[in-house]
Amino acid sequence: MSAVTFDSAVARALEREVQVRRRRHLKLAAWSALAVAALWFSALQIKLSPVALVRGAGYMWDFITRLFPPDLSYLALLGGATVETVQIAIWGTLLAIILSIPLSFLGARNTTPHILVFHLTRLLLNALRAINELVFALIFVSAVGLGPFAGVLAVALHATGMLAKFCAEEIEGVDKGQVEAQMATGATHMQVILFGVAPQIVPQFIGYAIYRLDVSIRSATVLGLVGAGGLGFALIQNMKLFKYHQTATCILVIFLLVLVSDWICGKLRRKVI
């Protein structure tokens, strides 16, 4: 039996491998150089300066020492604001869930009634995502007045953008076979969505909605800075009046609230997914 050898094929492939590797290294080097140049340029532009940081350390230390000790007697007064913060987040997220369900189906290529509707919906969602809650809050404060309602609307709109975009992408990734099977039964477009698409995305959607609630609680703690209720309102008032010990209490409560919300939402999410 004559042994078949592949020496020439192996030699050719090895040679090719060296070429491919060399090209890849060259590419990597070029991109790295470009990235470093861009970063250096922007560092100059934004005046990145460790010197200024060191020089300013004294002032920071001064501010921090003034905060201590936090005024714990003020804790009781913050109870209402804390509850309000959570309420803003819960209602904002709930409204976002309600709004994002139809929007996500309109904004997914495979369930949208028309490609134009798809593009318009995505445009709307991108706008909602692009505008920060604080900016929304400023607009709504001038529309519905100072207070938590403006905060609810701000959280709701921004969260709608995030939630609907995420959900639309999940919809686009569903198993097509399960959808086709529903179509084949003679189900209406709506029935196909209900029975073929929805069951595939519900757990991910609930998981993300809980994550959004956590994020909304964090946002709601600062919305008060522009007058939209919650803990942020107490924080900015105390800061403006130079009540350092009370300001410290506010920061402490915000920290604890975020910690607790992260813990609870994490537990909930693990339960769903």
Binding site: E180, A181, A184, T185, A187, L194, F195, Q200, P203
Partner: protein, 263 residues
């Protein structure tokens, strides 16, 4: 066979059916088929012969480029006929079963009833007692009623395909389209599933069109065979008429001949 096949009435006629994608890909190139009432008709052919496309034209999951499909004296292909009315007459069974994994077995079978119910009625996953009755009966026919409340993705492949058959039956169809129903199953389970499919459709007088690429199963189960190759019908007859020469005609591809898709 007790009744000579030729005396049975035709339930479905396909005339000059063609489907092309763009100018270069011709999935179907003029198909003429007559399907007889209550028969188990196997469409045999290699991958890419156009079997799946043919099936999807029949229930209008795919719109044909040319040709006519006449079912029960009515033209399916005409735009005036509602998709719902056409599709619910064809139950479909898929290679990948395509059960909705997170729904229960019973709900999956109940989706076979959707075309009979309004969107509003099904909005909250409500089904009538009558529908539930039908669904459980269909599950019992494939011997799966004992798993009605399990999630579909907890079942084995063979069990899933039996549930899929029950879903098709729940539509009360006149025809079942089975697109490579056993291609993802091992030989033992494959025979079991094909046996269920044939037996149940016989009991209910449902016509079955079954796409297969395996010759053994075709010989074993087909009452009549249509051989397809490259978008055309190249054979029509019974298992005994399926000679080596004809198999060669169905499966052989001239290596010099250019593939449509690569043009």
């Amino acid at each position: 066979m007790l009744v000579p096949a030729s005396t049975k009435t035709t339930v479905l006629s396909v005339r000059g059916l063609a489907k092309s994608y763009g100018n270069s890909v011709h999935a179907l190139r003029g198909i003429d088929i007559d399907v007889r009432e209550g028969e188990f008709l196997v469409i045999l052919g290699p991958s890419g012969a156009g079997k799946s496309t043919l099936m999807r034209c029949l229930n209008r999951l795919v719109e044909p480029t040319e040709g006519k499909i006449i079912h029960d004296g009515q033209e399916i292909t005409s735009k005036s006929r509602s998709l719902r009315a056409v599709r619910r007459q064809f139950g479909m069974v898929f290679q990948q079963f395509n059960l909705v994994k997170r729904l229960s077995v019973l709900t999956n079978v109940l989706t076979g009833r959707l075309a009979y119910r309004s969107t509003w009625r099904s909005l909250f996953y409500n089904f009538s007692k009558e529908d539930k009755h039908i669904a459980i009966e269909c599950l019992a026919r494939v011997n799966m009623d004992h798993k009605a409340f399990q999630r579909a993705d907890t079942l084995s492949g063979g069990e899933q395909q039996r549930v899929a058959i029950a879903r098709a039956l729940a539509q009360k169809p006149t025809i079942i389209l089975a697109d490579e129903p056993v291609a993802s199953l091992d030989p033992k389970i494959a025979r079991q599933v094909l046996t269920y499919l044939k037996q149940v459709s016989h009991e209910l007088g449902i016509t079955v069109l079954c796409n297969l690429h395996q010759v053994e199963y075709t010989r074993e189960f087909a009452e009549r065979i249509i051989g397809m190759s490259r978008g055309k019908v190249v054979f029509e007859g019974t298992a005994t008429e399926l000679t080596e020469e004809i198999l060669h005609r169905i499966y052989y591809r001239d290596p010099d001949e250019k593939d449509d898709k690569s043009q």
